[in-house]
Symmetry: C2
Subunit: 365 residues, 2 copies
């Protein structure tokens, strides 16, 4: 029975989870995964300096975190060449998306995204009563023209676009994104999710314009920086918009240990560059392994590769077979994207295991 004390909005929400975590799957199957290639984590780990900084900060964990994340924002501000007022930290991009949707989407407000794009964004839109409008991918890319057109048609408050894209790994160049920003309708905000940017070629991101009110950019320490476990993302935007997060966010919500880890990771750009090289090499190897098994790799600017199996049914069978054989992967939820299985970049050992397991898994169904 629904609790009568819930708001009408909350009472109507499904008891859904955007993703089932690998630990949950491990508990269900009664065994650990042998390779964790499903969540686009960085198996290469964070900078050793970040690990050390977190270990050091653990001894200071009795103190509440700085709600301003001052040291981290100062370092990000210098790194990015934007002002402190252009930056707000959040509990991953997930947390920032929640705050942003809360700030801008009232029940019934229109929001536009791509069919098959990031489910957690959709979860937040549903959670605040927004009406989600989805446009199809075009040639496995999110389609800026279609997103803009639908935003015009629906009077959308938000457009979501990730560049590089998850789950396909495709990307647009900076000029294309800059043109899209020019076309954002009045009264609408482009949410540009750049979680995978560090893995992408130079020229993927348009320059940051700290006064541009049409776009908010979201980035994270979860991907190339290898710190998915500590929940540290940031939004870059025009100062008035960024300040609005302060009206709703959990000010003391970001762990002191996490802040220390992210700061040390940011300062070790050498390690980041090494990781990006390793990601690129792993992408190439995943593509080769796919090709050797008759699966077509899609070009990727992220830390994963989508391998085309030919059909959604075949992908689902393959994913289940890989799971049964101890390899955690994921796949897009909707057609036609679901003809691909999504393999996160792994270590050499992980990919040895993949090379060994994939041909066997393909004969399991």
């Amino acid at each position: 029975m629904t609790d009568p004390r819930l708001t009408p909005l909350a009472a109507a929400l499904p008891a859904t989870v955007p993703f089932v975590g690998p630990e949950t799957q491990e508990r269900q199957r009664g065994a650990s995964f042998r390779a964790r290639l499903g969540a686009n984590e960085s198996v290469f780990g964070p900078s050793p300096r970040a690990i050390q900084a977190m270990a050091d900060a653990a001894a200071e964990a009795w103190m509440y975190p700085d709600p301003e994340s001052f040291d981290l924002r100062t370092a990000l501000s210098r790194h990015l060449g934007v002002g402190m007022g252009n930056l707000v930290m959040g509990a991953g991009i997930d947390g920032l998306l929640g705050s942003l949707v809360r700030l801008t989407v009232a029940p019934g407000d229109a929001v536009v995204t791509s069919d098959g794009a990031y489910p957690t964004f959709n979860y937040h839109v549903a959670g605040y009563g927004g009406t989600l409008h989805k446009v199809p991918y075009r040639d496995d890319h999110e389609d800026p023209d279609a997103l803009i057109a639908r935003a015009h048609d629906t009077g959308a408050k938000l457009i979501y676009l990730s560049n590089p894209d998850n789950p396909m790994g495709s990307w647009h160049d900076a000029d294309r994104i800059a043109r899209m920003i020019e076309e954002v309708p009045q009264g609408c905000l482009l949410v540009l999710d750049e979680a995978y940017l560090e893995c992408a070629p130079e020229g993927t991101a348009p320059p940051l314009d700290p006064e541009d009110t049409r776009v908010v950019r979201m980035r994270t320490f979860s991907k190339a920086y290898g710190l998915a476990g500590i929940r540290m993302g940031y939004a870059i935007g025009q100062p008035d918009l960024i300040a609005a997060f302060g009206r709703v966010r959990n000010h003391f919500g970001l762990s002191r240990v996490s802040q220390a880890g992210a700061l040390a990771a940011l300062r070790d750009q050498t390690y980041l560059a090494e990781t990006v090289s390793r990601i690129a090499a792993a992408r190439d190897r995943i593509a080769r392994i796919g090709q050797q098994n008759g699966l077509t790799p899609l070009p990727s600017a992220a830390n994963f590769v989508a391998l085309d199996t030919g059909s959604g049914d075949r992908t689902r069978n393959l994913l289940n077979a890989l799971t049964a054989r101890g390899i955690f992967t994921r796949m897009p939820g909707v057609a036609p994207l679901d003809r691909c299985i999504r393999i996160s970049c792994g270590s050499e050992d992980d990919l040895d295991l993949l090379a060994d397991t994939l041909p066997k898994a393909l004969t399991d169904f």
Copy 2:
């Protein structure tokens, strides 16, 4: 100018912060505090095992956290003698209060609290458009009868009560709270904030009733466990209510390192007991220092002591004088509670400094 894309609710919210952090004050004054006695942190720190567990977990920070916090909830479930379905973790009690208010309070809904009680609860109620009704403290205690009566009068969705109380340190015994739970009106939920419970005498908390729909209890690792920095709190309630958090919470929002730290801290009940003894000794010493300086200590079941200065103006002057002399403290925001200054339990060095500084600070104004 207010961004026209904000929802009407968000546009009407003030750009407020429930608390200004000590780091912000340090940046403003250009010097570190010599003693940090304002945020009811535990200067005694977490268990060394928790520090070690966090250092170990730092190396695994590349993995997303378990969104179910399964290991930690399992341990809490055994420790408390309740089911897994009775427990949900959050980013401190602050984060849980935000989710709970979101689930239950629609714009215009009535909520009841005490005038001078926890500001962050009020922040969340305002943030979701609730109408806050405040009843006065009675003899420096939150007043269950007045809270219940006001909830009846207003048709409140929530009643907030902390036991032990912050900022006064007062408490009710378990029988009084159990009676209050019996009196919660139909359609209303009692939010029983037990952040300071571990510091309180036996018999302060009524038994946990895992099927009671009238109350949700909130507890934390921030206080006696000494882990304010890692943001880990939990709610205990009837399973349907607890499950509802899953409709709105940031599932992957709780750091893997934090979960490991909290789990290790929970397992070290010996250290917790030692800390509680040290808190009790520090309370006694703060009371004596107050008395030696003509300030009347209030009895406290928390990890701080409220010292009565005689008036709100005198307290404000004293707080400013202590700040100027490098001691961070806080005070209640409203009369008549503001006749007290709130001093968190400190180390022996901290309290030596307090004993030395307080008489000087009292002559500064």
